[in-house]
Symmetry: D3
């Protein structure tokens, strides 16, 4: 009992998500060291024990209670059909933490234009479960073959169609494939075991960790804008700022000017800066931020 509280077992995804996961924890304030050969990464929190596991197997081990919580992709959560609690969508503007699209595709010059056209055909995929479910939903019977890789080169000789990940679409284009359907849009998720959440100590531990992980992800797309504004132009300037959060207006020694500081989406800066300048703001400074908890 007491012992159960002593340690939180956390699954770290091996492979494409690994580097960014490490960076995410670093931004959240945790030092995760993954040494070349070990599958037990070191974390600078004595209450947490990490295990490096492939995303494909992660949800299964969380469901079985071998792990208390983990990060893995929505795709593999669904593929395994494991019964886990999803606590956060960790979608972020970092490598491999963006949206992953699973698409059904066939040769451009084939007659296959819709899943209905694949009746009785062979479909190669790494995600047999997801594909079978998709076919059933559309009432189509077809042969689904597990593919060990290089799925996109299989049509038309080794398969009639495929269900595969399409990062940028360039692999599809290179193999002259057309997309018939988007089967799933997946992002990394933070999942937990149901029983683990019923343990107060683990639940609180997970909650605080998530506040920091979410704070780091929120900061990733934002910056601080700080500027001097003539007191008379203050309203004009403030009106330009996104409604997201009220700006901090602080008084200056020179009473004709105030300092306006606010957090904005980095994407908006391109449009915002020229507009703020026109509205009278000067000395506009953009600063990076590490974390933000609103």
């Amino acid at each position: 009992m007491t012992e159960a509280k002593d340690c939180l077992r956390l699954g770290i995804p091996k492979g494409s998500l690994q580097e960014t996961t490490k960076k995410l924890f670093a931004l959240a304030g945790y030092n995760l060291r993954i040494s070349g050969r070990s599958y037990y990464p070191n974390i600078d929190d004595g209450d947490i024990q990490c295990i490096l596991i492939r995303p494909q197997e992660m949800a299964r081990y969380v469901e079985q209670g071998i792990l208390d919580c983990a990060i893995t992709g929505l795709d593999w959560i669904l593929e395994t059909g494991a019964d886990v609690m999803e606590l956060a969508n960790l979608h972020a503007p970092w490598p491999n933490y963006g949206v992953v699209r699973w698409v059904m595709a066939a040769k451009e010059d084939s007659d296959f234009n819709d899943v209905k056209d694949l009746k009785g055909k062979r479909i190669a995929t790494e995600a047999v479960g997801m594909t079978t479910r998709f076919l059933k939903e559309h009432g189509v019977q077809a042969e689904v073959e597990f593919s060990w890789g290089a799925t996109e080169v299989k049509p038309p000789i080794l398969a009639d169609a495929i269900v595969d990940v399409s990062e940028t679409g360039s692999s599809l284009r290179a193999n002259n494939l057309k997309v018939l359907h988007v089967v799933l849009e997946s992002t990394p998720r933070f999942v937990a075991n149901q029983e683990a959440l019923e343990d107060d100590w683990k639940q609180s531990k997970i909650e605080r960790m998530l506040m920091l992980l979410n704070g780091a992800i929120a900061a990733a797309t934002r910056v601080t804008l700080s500027m001097n504004v003539p007191r008379k132009n203050l309203d004009d300037v403030v009106k330009l700022l996104p409604a997201l959060s009220t700006p901090t207006v602080s008084t200056l020694a020179d009473e004709n000017w105030v300092d306006v500081t606010t957090v904005v989406e980095e994407k908006q800066v391109r449009e915002l800066i020229p507009a703020l300048y026109l509205a009278g703001a000067r000395g506009i400074i953009e600063l990076p931020i590490n974390k933000i908890i609103e």
Copy 2:
């Protein structure tokens, strides 16, 4: 019909066997070019069309007749249970063409010492079919879970035992695993589709290709030894030579000496040369060979 003769579809194994397969074909006299991105390697024989396929999927495609013949490992032939004709064992002293051992292993400090001890336990493996068959043969019921990789780090937390490839045993040692059983010893095989062999043109094409592949493999472990021998010592020298093939004894201008040339296993040379020298042979020269057809 006629068209079927026009082309022999040959599966080249992608991955660990790829480089050596390319080298084997080069030694046999074929130039196989595998360009970075394409899955259709180029071969300098207009009658052959190559496809690069994972060993795991190869036998399935040969069985279905999509390929006429292919190289893949015995392990994956058995794992898929595909019905194909095995025409040659391509075991050779080259990287990844040696013997691959699949072993059942568990933690050194565990109580598991025999497959019988695994009743009701979880066994992780990439070869679910092979493992299931092995358990059935030994009358043991256990849970076999497909492993997406890094199988050897799973005991004891993620699995009780594993069935995995053990190249040099160093990975087992590094993870403190002990071998319970050798489940299979596998080597690369040349397999063909049954129907393809009934086509005269394809059968003859395959047969000649195999003569060259076998000739290259046979040469890989042998060298030519050539030496000058005093005519009076000829019998002593010849007696030392392995019975494998009769040496070529050719006359020289100097009638007191003869030239003895023979092909021997490279391994024997270490013992043979000192012995030949003692028996009177001089000017002993070892030459490399490309191919040998006995």
Copy 3:
């Protein structure tokens, strides 16, 4: 007409300027993705179309109107003699965005000490136009040969002198060359096509982009200094600060102290911090900035 406004064609320099150009756009708020093989980088602004082009050819394509604007070096603008509008000097403290010196050089132990000494000699260079012009300006007639590379190793066998880029001078030293003249000091420039600037939409689009690019470059050499200052020392502290921009003095809860925040050149910090400390400032913090628009 309408269509002309739909898209701004922007030339991105391929090669040594490429990586820093990508970083400059990132700092300015644009995500420029250059995939390995494509010459059409992706930018997250639907109104802009990028093309990757060698700096040597850039000005020519801007002059011809194939591009609306571009980044390239002053050297190649002059070499091609193209008629383009230079809108900004993008000199920045980043790799390859510093000053590039084109020098005329000859062997250290040669008799050539001045361009006048090269009358009738052979000069190898990648910049035939620039060299020819320089010779003409100095009234010297010599043979200028186009060099395909490795120009610095040509004297004395393959050429008498060279005109070449000298980044750090180490290549000159390694080849025992002495500099006769600095022919040109070049930095990256933002150039535009004259007609494009007459289009209102394009002109405004370019102007806003330049505000952000310039803001990022200005920030690259500056930092924010923030410190607590006893109210009585405020004048002493403020006097130490560079005149560049008035510091933001904000009141604190503790009325005996004020917070002074200002932006300074990073280079000055080394001298400034010890001086500020002596003048009574405490809790001096230096923060990085992303952009600054004064």
Copy 4:
């Protein structure tokens, strides 16, 4: 005399400390360029001349006065026994700037459990002086052999025990070694020649450089936390903040809220942020800092 003031000779450690040393100077405001082949790094301060030297030899050259000051490890200062002034411990959370432990170790299954057990045995080490001193302190006579590397693989055949660096302990584990004693815990130090410190110009130059180096190291483990706090909760929030430095409380336009900004250890953020949020703080922002001089 006058000339002596013109230049400060600074030793930069070659090898494992090199990269981080370069980064440390960058953070302190100096641009140190180490070109591939040269041993005289360039620094953007005309008064300083840098030389790249192995840490093992550094203290010797500082003692001899060939260098005025340098960075090297405490281990090699002690090993050489050089008489130098230690001015700062540069321990920092960067690669190779952490604590380096020199341990005495022997095979796990050996009978050696204490330095006393090594009487008359052979000990291999790169640090013969340090080891000899340690043995003498413990009154043990043993044979100390200089090891040219790979010391940890020597027991039991090539040595009975070793004294070697143990970064993470993983090399010890991999070679089945157990630690008998920690002989020394070392970190990088800033050392100076005694006579150099008696020269006013050099002493002042070194002092100002150290203020910046220390400021950069102090900033490495800290961040700025900025938040909006309801005026009524101010005391609760301030109580949570570490005593390290008084927070800057600035007034806002909205009189019900104040802005609280403070510098905290990055490590504390994990516990602090959830607590601050509970105490009423909102819009909590964490910003990186470059330097801090308290």
Copy 5:
């Protein structure tokens, strides 16, 4: 005069031909060492001095007499129009020593299908001379622009058509280009300066070097086949052998068998071995050869 005989100046092509040229000289019996930074490769023949030069500039320097002889591509010999003596075509089955095709190409979906269609259009190429000559031969007037690289991506925006090297055609395909004409098929050539050949010492030196270079190239595509043949089948076997060179038939100790040894094209081996075996040959051995001078 005498001095002129002391040294033969040999140009070694820098770049894509470099590695194979080094290998060719090694096979011919010369040790050519090209150290990273030097442009004066070392050769183990005191009478020869090597210089590393780009193929584009090679012929010019041979024509000027700065080099006595050199290896470069036919394409650049023609492009420069230099007046040099071509002594050997070094076409060989090694990387970059095969045939290089220069093609005129345009976008697949363009209306350009013949050089005639390019009247008044812009053609980008690295080989301005070759292209201009080709246009003149076909009576077409067009604008030829020098391209600094990445020529194949220029159509249709930066050029209407191109003249460029097409190694395997894959770059053309990747850019959706179609070939209008093959402008030139080029291979590496050994060229010499006319005056150098009139010097007896140089001429003889070059001649002997060429015998060895040609011997190495001839051996590259051939192997030795050696086999035992029943005396009664000798005629049948000999008839199968290519007419190229008479086989060496040597007597054996066993009078019923003879040894037949011959040199054949490696390409023929694939067909020859099965046929020889059918004709009674046994113990067929294929050996590699270094050089052959017929």
Copy 6:
């Protein structure tokens, strides 16, 4: 006693000699596998146990009897002054198996031109013993300081002169150093422990291994030349052949021709082939050889 015969302990040099040593054993017929992390290479001879050791420490361990035999450089044998039996000079035309020159060097523009000039000066070197001995032989007293590396950059600031390895002289030139003396010319040696040689089994084991190692080294610089010669020209041809070994002259089916086969130094081939051709030889073939025991 009996046990002593069971195993021969062989030291394999780690570092620059390692790769070529592995290749040498391969050519001699032994498969030596050095896995990344282990210091106990695997050899396919159950009677031999290998240990990977730095050349600097090798002789010491052979002298102490920890190793029975080993390969290391003459330089480190002398430096350690270890009492070992040298059985073979393994000088060979392979990387790092050539001659290594240790030279005494000083700055080109220094006044040091002879060891006599270094009286009272500081000399930096990795070979303190060798340098001290050399100074004593020349009756010069100077301070010898152990250098941990980068010795060649130490003059004139960190040392007055050095004793260091000079592979090609390029490092000396790059640092503007002149050679005062060649202190030692070193090559790899095969050494053995005196007592090991008194054990019959070990002595015989070593002897046979050396026959094969020497056979591989002898073959490295030689090739087989085989040619057809008109019987009437036989004497002329034979006269041209080096006296090294009598050629094998074998009769051919065609009585007017004989086959002449001989082994020659590869270096001589360049001169020999043109001469043999002139003397009437035809179908001259050069073949590589693996081993030769004369």
